[in-house]
């Protein structure tokens, strides 16, 4: 029992003590068999014969009792040490109850001291063994299969070792006849040989037996390990997820499996892959919300969830949360749920159904699946990263194309504009001709033809106008960068930018204050480009103000843009501070990435604004731009531009 408690609680320090106790047991057995120090004769009671205590019996009893007390102490100590209601705590409880039952067997010692008392202790011992057996099966105290196998092998091994002695004792005469005086050498040598090779035979048999017993499990565990390693190479996320559920269901022979992955924008765990139970591919099972008790539990404990255990513990502790988790797992048809972490975050869930064999998941299974799930998480992160990278690459290619278009656009737009212009004149003149034509004397059919032509020509003119607007829009992002640099006054620049902005935003709905000295030095820059920069910043601020107004609905809120500036050595520092919505921290580092936009409708933002600003300020002007923001408070852009000499 002491050995069990030590192993069960993993107390390494006391392992040596176990060996001592086994030695002590052997000594005691010897004392009982060959002396009367422990057992000093028998006495007849009315219910039968019983042994009497010898001289050393009280010492034996003291050691026995202190051993049990030590076990109980260690268990209780560990029990209080565990703050969470874990399986371990549950297991300790069962062990303690078991020992409590076992304690009753000590009544067996009473008749040892000449008192007539029926030693029913063997009954409680049997009860204790039964109870332990039950807990082992129910609470996975130990790997039952392995335990039974190892014990059986040990027994067989003992039989094997004792075989020569058995032969020697029963066939002594025949051996003496056969081998003469030194007959005893034969059994001695054979037992020595057996004892020498014994351990290796023992290990061999044990390995074979375990391999046979766990053949199936080991096979799929190896397959899963291989799969884990191979995962890193799959770059296509969709394929990777599908592959994972397929491998798991096929190698472990599961009825079903599924993967849920966290989707940050929606805050949901979304069903990404499913095998078996196709009927679960419905709206109800398509996602698990972040606030589901299941998710909270996995995030907190970071351990796989076994359905049977969850259910059992939910009942045992009347735990509402566990019961809810159990129900949810039932809904997902999950016998086992393996969380998958990327650093601290729960990145996904691997849902595993029942094994086709009906067998339960072993402790080793949980370990292997955890490895698999975490490996999968890494692979998924890789794949996601790869996809993101590809996207960014595509975006850059697009930006590059835009730049090429930009250099072409100037000439191109001139050509297109000229065509449109001519077309507009042709249609306009034709329309004019028709309008000037007297129609009173014309037959109705001719009148109708004129009317139709009038409509058509009008439509051509409308299209010319729209074509012109499109060309104008295209030009906005493609102005040549190397056009002249000159000394620019901030006030004039702001005037021009606001003039440009008023076509897009309602300037009179916000307050714009200019807080700087009128005699501020001019900056050296390209007017058109800087106008574009200020226009973009003002436009962004305005959108942020509108967003704050709409989302926070603060009474009396009014958008405000403060513009400050000061000379700082050879540079001018310009601050544009708004009280808009601000930017969420997670979006912050991507702000200057081309085509990244936080503006809700894609119509509102091209995701090019800040990218263009940085390009213009830093690459074209040798200046600097940075941006600070506090969500729901506002943002501030700081521009540093060289002062004109």
């Amino acid at each position: 029992m002491f050995h069990f408690v030590i192993s069960f609680l993993h107390i390494e320090k006391l392992k040596k003590f176990v060996i001592f106790l086994y030695g002590y047991g052997v000594v005691c057995s010897g004392l009982i068999l060959f002396t009367n120090l422990l057992v000093g004769g028998t006495k007849q009671y009315f219910w039968g014969f019983y042994s009497l205590a010898g001289r050393l019996h009280p010492i034996f009893l003291t050691i026995f009792i202190s051993q049990i007390i030590l076990c109980v102490f260690l268990l209780i100590n560990c029990y209080w040490g565990l703050s969470e209601n874990t399986i371990k705590k549950q297991q300790i409880k069962y062990v303690l109850i078991g020992i409590f039952i076992f304690d009753f067997s000590s009544v067996d010692f009473i008749p040892n001291y000449g008192i007539s008392f029926y030693p029913f202790g063997y009954g409680t011992t049997a009860l204790f063994v039964l109870f332990f057996a039950y807990s082992i099966v129910k609470y996975r105290l130990l790997e039952v299969n392995l335990l039974i196998t190892r014990t059986s092998i040990f027994l067989v091994y003992c039989l094997l070792l004792s075989f020569p002695f058995v032969i020697a004792l029963s066939w002594q005469k025949q051996l003496m006849n056969l081998l003469g005086e030194n007959w005893w050498l034969a059994p001695l040598i054979s037992s020595t040989v057996l004892a020498t090779v014994g351990p290796s035979i023992y290990l061999f048999i044990q390995r074979k037996a375990e391999a046979l017993l766990l053949q199936e499990q080991r096979r799929y565990q190896a397959a899963l390990r291989r799969a884990s390693i191979g995962m890193g190479r799959v770059k296509d996320l969709k394929r990777l997820l599908k592959l994972t559920v397929n491998i798991v269901t096929r190698t472990v022979h599961l009825k079903n499996a599924a993967i849920y992955l966290f989707h940050p924008p929606s805050g949901l765990y979304i069903l990404k892959a499913l095998k078996g139970r196709e009927d679960l591919r419905d709206r109800k099972h398509a996602f698990i919300p972040l606030n589901a008790p299941l998710i909270g539990h996995l995030q907190k404990h970071r351990e796989p969830l076994v359905y049977d255990e969850v259910k059992q513990r939910g009942q045992d502790f009347q735990d509402q949360t566990l019961q809810e988790i159990g129900k949810m797992m039932e809904g997902l048809d999950a016998a086992l749920l393996v969380p998958s972490f990327i650093e601290e975050d729960l990145a996904g869930l691997l849902v595993l159904g029942k094994k086709r064999s009906g067998k339960l998941y072993s402790h080793d299974d949980l370990v292997v699946f955890s490895i698999l799930a975490n490996q999968a998480a890494l692979a998924i992160e890789n794949a996601q990263f790869y996809e993101d990278m590809k996207k960014t690459h595509d975006q850059l290619m697009k930006a590059e194309k835009m730049a090429t278009i930009g250099t072409m656009a100037d000439g191109l737009s001139h050509q297109i504009n000229n065509r449109l212009h001519a077309m507009g004149f042709i249609a306009g003149d034709a329309l004019d001709t028709i309008k000037l034509q007297p129609r009173e004397n014309l037959p109705p059919e001719a009148k109708k033809v004129y009317e139709e032509m009038e409509t058509s020509l009008g439509k051509i003119q409308d299209n010319v106008k729209r074509g012109g607007e499109i060309v104008e829009g295209l030009l906005k992002y493609s102005r040549k960068a190397d056009e002249g640099f000159a000394a620019i006054e901030l006030n004039k620049l702001l005037d021009a930018s606001l003039e440009m902005a008023q076509f897009k935003i309602k300037i009179n709905q916000i307050d714009i204050t200019r807080d700087f000295n009128g005699r501020l030095p001019a900056v050296r820059g390209n007017f058109t480009q800087l106008q574009e920069v200020f226009f973009n910043i003002i436009d962004n601020s305005y959108d942020a103000m509108v967003q704050r107004k709409e989302e926070l609905k603060e009474p009396g809120y009014r958008g405000k843009l403060e513009i400050r500036a000061q000379a700082e050595g050879s540079h001018l520092e310009i601050f544009l501070k708004d009280n808009g919505m601000g930017v969420r921290e997670k979006d912050f580092k991507r702000l200057f990435t081309p085509f990244f936009t936080t503006k809700l409708s894609s119509k509102k933002g091209t995701g090019l604004g800040l990218y263009v600003i940085r390009k213009i300020i830093e690459e074209n002007h040798g200046g600097k731009v940075d941006f600070v923001s506090e969500y729901q408070q506002g943002s501030q852009t700081r521009l540093v531009l060289p002062i004109a000499m």
């Binding site: 504009n417 000229n418 001519a422 004149f425 306009g428 003149d429 002249g484 021009a496």
Partner: protein
């Protein structure tokens, strides 16, 4: 009869603009380039010039500059495809009367031209 000169390197533009304004009792002449335009302005003294900004041999701004260099204050309306701040600034510096953007619907051009001619 008011005289209008249309300067554009696009033949279609010249042709149809001429047809349009001729119907409004305006004496329209056209020029395909800057040099030709300067000659006509010197010779015919038009009341108004519609001048395209971007032309092959000589830009509209250059034509205007040369014209003003000769102390010629003929009214000029510039027609540009690009909303370019610098061109607008230069054209303003050389005393342009109007600055309009391509593409243009004839009716709008008509209003502007007639208004300038009536001044």
């Amino acid at each position: 009869m008011p005289k209008l000169l249309i300067v554009d390197d696009e033949a279609d533009v010249r042709e149809f603009a001429k047809r349009f304004f001729t119907k409004r009792n305006i004496d329209v002449t056209t020029a395909a380039g800057g040099q030709e335009a300067l000659e006509i302005i010197g010779r015919d003294k038009p009341d108004l010039v519609l001048l395209d900004v971007r032309m092959e041999e000589m830009t509209g701004v250059e034509v205007l500059r040369e014209l003003r260099g000769k102390q010629d204050n003929t009214k000029v309306i510039m027609v540009s495809g690009v909303n370019d701040h610098e061109i607008i600034a230069a054209a303003n510096a050389y005393g342009v009367h109007e600055f309009i953007h391509k593409p243009l619907v004839l009716e709008e051009l008509e209003k502007i031209v007639l208004a300038e001619l009536a001044k």
